[in-house]
Each structure stands twice: as structure tokens, then as C-alpha cells.
Amino acid sequence: MISIPGIEFFTTLIFYIIIFLIITLSYNLAYGYSGIPDFGRAMAAGAGGFLCGYLPGRLMAYILGIRGDYLSNVYVIVDKVNMTLESNPPLSMGLLILTLILGACAGGLIGLLASLPILRGMRIFYLGVTLLAFQVGFNTIMYHYRPILRGELGVPIPDPFRWLMHYRILGLSPGITRSFGLIAAAGIVLLIIAYYCISVGRSPLGRVLKAIRDDEVAAATLGRDIRRIYIKVMVVSYAITGIAGALYAFYQGYVVGLHFDKIDWTFWPIAMVILGGLANNRGTFLGTITFIVLRRLIIFYKSDLEFILPFSPIWLESLLLGVILILLLIYRPRGLLPERPEIPLSREEIEGIRRKVGA
């Protein structure tokens, strides 16, 4: 008997789509335009997400004057913090915005560190492996070093959306109102980011980035300092992903060094961007939405799938990711929607100019 998805399925789905759109659009900025295969991207989301585990709780405990060692009493303290946040919507929103901004800063900082290898003039292949090593190291520290996130135990995170649970929309459960709030917040961030990324794509900077990707030497002759541009792109791109990581951490309410791992936060986004086609914002949307919908459906229908598949559906996702990546790279490395040459001006505008000039 096939289960029918309830409303929680859709709210989760939309939330995941928005979060990963933020990630892939910002990844596109770095990889799609500049050709740097970034295998350490999970660090960017991790920066924002782990910051969420570290800072908001402590900050609120300090403001509220809650004494005692934060980490040993973390469950009790976070529960107390949540009670205050629940009755104080402006405080909650302030905390949210502050954490998102700090998450962006943390992401940007990590992006700066991640771009250091570029300064050394490293060849691209070593860059990929080195960034992966950085990311694994980063997550390892978060997973083992007690004072940050309680090591292997992880920490709960205060919930700035809990106040929404006092309201019911359309007679649905209060948890849905909270989900709506999360989606609204993430959606606003996405709109801002999407606007930015699409604008960059059309700007002179965007064309310079593509030029660099296609032919480094030629671009160098144009006199632009390539390295500084790379670094700027990395920092901005990582900062944006950091915001997505922070939002996700708030959604989960709990974080541990195992989260923001390379499979879900580096390699799936890479697959999404490749599917959609590099440097192609429309393609990125397509790739992201396709994969997220596919994955959520698999997760939802896992127990139903057990009867059809000869093996446990837990492995279906990995199997698909591996096969899709391989097939994409062999047959359609340019993605499903191939990159079109950038046409910043529309046809009419060009005709108009031509007429004015009298040519």
C-alpha cells in the first residue's frame, strides 16, 4: 500500500530545496565561473552550522544571566533559553539575524583559509584534494574537540522559531507554523542570494570569471589580478553557503561534528551543479530541484521500496549518486541544459543601438 505524503513532507521538501539552492548557486559562482573544483565545500556549510551550535546558546545564556558550565548542562540551559525565546518574538528574530550574519562571516573566514592554497599557485588537482583534506580535518576537530560542540556528543541549538508554535494556520498543527517560518526566512535569503548570483552572472565580473576559467593565460593578458579575484569569489561563495548551513542547523535543532559531511554537502551539490550544467543558473535550479525531490521521495518511500528492490533501500541513494555522477561525467559533462553564451543585452536593445548609431 503506497503511503500518501502529508503536509510535513512538503514543508521539509521545500525547505531542503531552498537551502540547497542557496548552496548550489553560491557553488556555481565559484566552480561554474572559475573552474575551481571545490571538494571542501562542506566546510562552508559547516562553518555556519557549527557556529550555530557554539554561539547562540552561549550568547543567550549570558544575556539571561544563566550561570553554570554551558556544556555540562547544555540540555537544561538550552531548554531555559527556548522558553524565553518562545515568549519573545523580537528577541528570537534578532538572534536569528545576528547568527546568520555571523554564520556568513564564519563562512567567509573559512573561505579565506580555503583560498590560501591558490595563493601558492597550486595546480588544480592538488587543490581539490587539499580542500577535501581541510574539510575532513575541520569536521574532525568539531567532532573530537570537547570544548566546542561537546565532541562526539553534539549540542542542542536554541530555536528562534519556537514562538511561531503558538499560532495555528488553517487549523494545522503548530509545528507547521514553525516550518512555514523557517521556509519564509530561508526563502528571503534565497531571493537575495539568487538576485546577487544572477546579477554577477550578467556583470562584467561574471564574464571575466568565465574568461579565466576558459583560458587562464589569455585572461591574464587582460591585466586582471586573477588571484585576487579567485580569493574574493571564494570568500563570498563560502559566506553564502555559511548562511545556508546556519539555517539548516536551526531547522535540525541539534548539531555534531558528523554533520555537514562531504557526501551530502560537497558531493551531492557537485552532482546538482554538473547535472544542471556549469555556470548556468537555470541549469542549477533544475539540477538542484531534481535531485532534492528524488532524494526526499526515496527517503519517504523507503519502506514501500523495500518490497520492490532486491536490497535495502538505505543504499539506494548512494547507488544513485554514484551511478548518476559517473554517467553524467561520461555522457553529459556539460549538463542537461548546456551553457549558453552570455548575452547581456537583448536583441531589441542591440537593434536599437544599431539604429541610433546609424550603422
Binding site: S3, I4, P5, G6, I7, E8, F9, F10, T11, T12, L13, I14, I17, I18, Y75, V76, D79, Y143, H144, G151, E152, L153, G154, P156, I157, D159, F161, R162, M165, L170, L172, S173, P174, G175, R178, I183, G187, L190, L191, A194, Y195, I198, Q252, G253, Y254, V256, L258, H259, N281, R282, F285, I289, I299, F300, K302, S303, S312, I314
Partner: protein, 425 residues
């Protein structure tokens, strides 16, 4: 793509998704409409059917199945219009998989869930359960840090702040004054370490060294080397080996640890003590298949605790039924699992609504008045079992065969250990 089109696309997805979900919710509600229960009332089950806790998971699932049959038989006799239906999801002994399965169940509108089994899984689900008004009843997550009043997590098993004193008293009453604490670095292990060592120190004992090890350790020779060096230091300070004990909080990792430890002569001359994570492991009483581990466990008189429940009528019934299904007796946690199904069903009947928060409110009252496979279920303010006794088990040669034998009992109310005949230290 133009920004306007982008915004419109997002808006459409958003509205369409919410609309679809809302509509579907109206057509196929989960447990009947708001007032009155009808049809199949769905209860989610998060159980480990693969990974490190597979054997325990199979036992617990069998107990849930027995309970579902019993409850539905009762509901049929009562002529009620509803039955319960348990929806099982395999959480693969992993906190991440547990979260995904939780989301999947939640996506079907299920708000009452039994499980998860492991403390780290509970930790990762807690916040989401809280924000989505989901009621969780775990049969086996024993970590101390999860004892929080008024949250949505209930536990029908003894919590480790009761197991710690049991182990500490066992060690101390064996004549051991110095202990080395070796523990897995997760919610459960860290809590047990604190609870055991605090009690041991309060009894007058001393802790020589703390050796935490990460859950993803695959090679144990550095850990065992560390234990050995602590023992060598103690020897140099004049402490005799028969006064030293090793406390170890691990799961199946005890097997490679024993293999490594067997290569150090002094390590088999001290006593080793385990927990509910190592009790009844079949490989420790298997001289043919696992000779090294079995002989090491026997030579160090490896004593592990398991929480003790009275042998009620329901207990015998569950034991018999699971024996029929699986060919073996279930783990102790299966009995709490059985009881949780009854308590949830009875609470649902009292509330007569599929409302998880209303059920949560009456759950402790129903539990206190229910006498099941684990006897009385008196929950404390944290929603966890208030008292528990522990039995002590050890691999022993009985009649020429190695088996796990109960060698003593720790009584919670008198805070003392009673050793059985022939096993007095």
C-alpha cells in the same frame, strides 16, 4: 532566467506544495479525525535492524509485534472502532539514519513514535520531536544527559545514573580499590563514566586513569597500550594487581579489545568489569569460534550488569512468544518495549483522540497504574524509570560448557551487592 520569473517559480512551488499537502491531509488523515479514533491508528517505530545493535533490535521488534497482536485482540474484544498499526523503520544503529526515518514517519503525519533505541539517536531527534509535538518512548536509551523534565522523550528503561552506582558497588565489593575507566566517547559512555567513577570515589576508591576512545575507532592497540601503561605505573607505585580493576563501557568493540589485551600478560591478571553494552555477548562464551576472547573474559572474571525486572505473568508471556518467533529469549529491553505499546494504546483510549500532547499528559498516570512485563512503571519527573535493580552476569564454565551466569544482584533500595553462592569475591 529573469528574477521575476524566479520569484514566481518559487512562489508557485511553495503554494502548490502546501496546497497539495493540505489537501492530502484532508483526504487521508493519520489516525482518524480530531474527535474520536477510527480505523488504523498509526504508531511509528524506530528500531535498529542493522548495524551494531541488530540483535537487540530484532528482539525489540519481536516484542513490539507481540504487543500489537495483544492490544488489537483486546480492542476487538472491547468492540472499539479502532486498532493500532505499528509502522516500522530501520534506524541502522545510526543517529543520521534515525533522523531521516523520523522525518519520513513525520511526513506521513505520525506523531507518536516508539524508539529510538540508542542514546545518540535520541539526542539527535530530541529537538525535532520537540518542535513538531512528537511523542517518543524509547525502550533502551539509557544516557543520563537525556533526563530532562517535561520534554517529549520518555524512557521505559533504567537510566545510567542508576547503573553507575550498581557497577561501582560491584567493583568495590570485589575488593578492588583502584580502577581504570575506559569508555566510548558518546552520550552513553561519557555519562556512565561519570556515574561510575563518582560513586566509586565516594565509596573510597581511586581512579588511576580515564581513557576515552572515539566511536569510530577501528584499531584498539593504542587504547590497550594506554591501559597497560597505567597498570605498569601503578605497579611501580606499589599497588598490587589484585587490587586493580578495569571498567569498560563498550559495545561489540569489547571483542577486539580483548584480543589486543590478551597479548599483555598483566592485563589478564586484573579484574575487568562491563556494562549492559557487553552483557550476554555470545562470542564471549564461544570457546570454539572465539577462543581468545572467551578465555580472556573467563580469566579476568568479566562481570557485566543488566537491569533486573520482576518475573511477572506478562514477562513470562512475552518471553514465551518471542522464543516462538525468534528461537531465543529476548534482551531485557524487549519487555519495556512491550509495555510501551500497551501504555500508549491505553492512553489513546483514555484521551480518545490522536493528539500526541494529550497522550503525553496522561502517559505517566496510565503507566503507574499498569502492571506489565516489567512490573510497575513508575516514571520520575524526567519521564524515566525511577528505580531499578541490576543483576550481575559473568561468563562461567557450568557443566563443561561456557555460559553467561547470574553471579549476584545489586539492590537499588539498600545500595548493596549480594553475591550468589560460590561467587563471593
Amino acid at each position: 532566467m529573469s528574477k521575476g520569473a524566479l520569484a514566481a517559480l518559487l512562489l508557485i512551488i511553495f503554494v502548490a506544495g502546501i496546497g497539495a499537502g493540505y489537501a492530502l491531509n484532508m483526504i487521508a488523515p493519520v489516525g482518524g479525525s480530531a474527535k474520536g479514533l477510527t480505523g488504523e491508528v498509526k504508531i511509528g517505530v524506530l528500531v535498529d535492524l542493522s548495524g551494531a545493535l541488530t540483535t537487540y533490535g530484532e528482539d525489540i521488534k519481536a516484542a513490539y509485534e507481540v504487543a500489537e497482536e495483544d492490544v488489537n485482540a483486546f480492542l476487538e474484544q472491547a468492540g472499539s472502532k479502532w486498532r493500532i498499526k505499528l509502522i516500522y523503520e530501520d534506524t541502522a544503529s545510526s543517529p543520521d539514519v534515525a533522523l531521516k526515518k523520523f522525518e519520513s514517519l513525520l511526513g506521513r503525519g505520525i506523531k507518536i513514535m516508539l524508539g529510538p533505541m540508542m542514546s545518540p539517536q535520541c539526542a539527535s531527534l530530541r529537538s525535532s520531536a520537540q518542535s513538531n509535538d512528537v511523542l517518543l518512548i524509547s525502550p533502551s536509551a539509557t544516557a543520563v544527559t537525556l533526563s530532562i523534565p517535561n520534554d517529549n522523550l520518555f524512557r521505559f528503561c533504567a537510566v545510567d545514573d542508576l547503573q553507575g552506582p550498581a557497577i561501582a558497588s560491584t567493583i568495590y565489593s570485589s575488593g578492588i580499590g583502584y580502577v581504570i575507566s575506559v569508555f566510548i566517547s558518546n552520550e552513553w559512555g561519557v555519562g556512565l563514566n561519570t556515574s561510575v567513577t563518582e560513586k566509586f570515589i565516594s565509596l573510597g576508591g581511586k581512579v588511576l586513569k580515564y581513557i576515552p576512545w572515539s566511536p569510530d575507532t577501528i584499531e584498539f592497540s593504542p587504547v590497550v597500550e594506554s591501559i597497560n601503561s597505567a597498570i605498569q605505573d601503578a605497579k611501580q607505585n606499589g599497588i598490587s594487581l589484585d587490587k586493580i580493576g578495569v571498567f569498560i563501557a563498550a559495545y561489540r568493540q569489547i571483542l577486539p579489545i580483548f584480543v589486543a589485551a590478551s597479548k599483555y600478560p598483566d592485563l589478564s591478571k586484573v579484574r575487568w568489569f562491563g556494562t549492559d553494552g557487553t552483557v550476554m555477548i555470545p562470542e564471549l562464551v564461544d570457546p570454539k569460534g572465539h577462543p581468545t576472547e572467551t578465555s580472556f573474559a573467563a580469566s579476568v572474571k568479566f562481570t557485566s550488569t543488566m537491569y533486573k525486572i520482576p518475573k511477572t505473568r506478562a514477562y513470562e508471556h512475552v518471553k514465551r512468544k518471542v522464543l516462538e518467533k525468534l528461537g531465543r529469549e529476548p534482551t531485557i529491553y524487549a519487555y519495556g518495549a512491550y509495555d510501551s505499546v500497551w501504555v500508549v494504546a491505553l492512553s489513546l483510549a483514555a484521551v480518545n483522540e490522536y493528539d500526541s500532547m494529550k497522550v503525553k499528559k496522561v502517559l505517566p498516570i496510565v503507566a503507574a497504574n499498569y502492571y506489565g512485563a516489567t512490573g510497575n512503571i513508575l516514571l520520575n519527573k524526567n519521564g524515566d524509570l525511577a528505580k531499578a535493580d541490576y543483576s550481575l552476569w559473568r561468563p562461567v564454565k557450568v557443566g563443561g560448557k561456557m555460559k553467561w551466569e547470574e553471579v549476584g544482584v545489586y539492590y537499588c533500595s539498600t545500595d548493596s551487592v549480594e553475591w550468589k553462592e560460590g561467587y563471593k569475591p
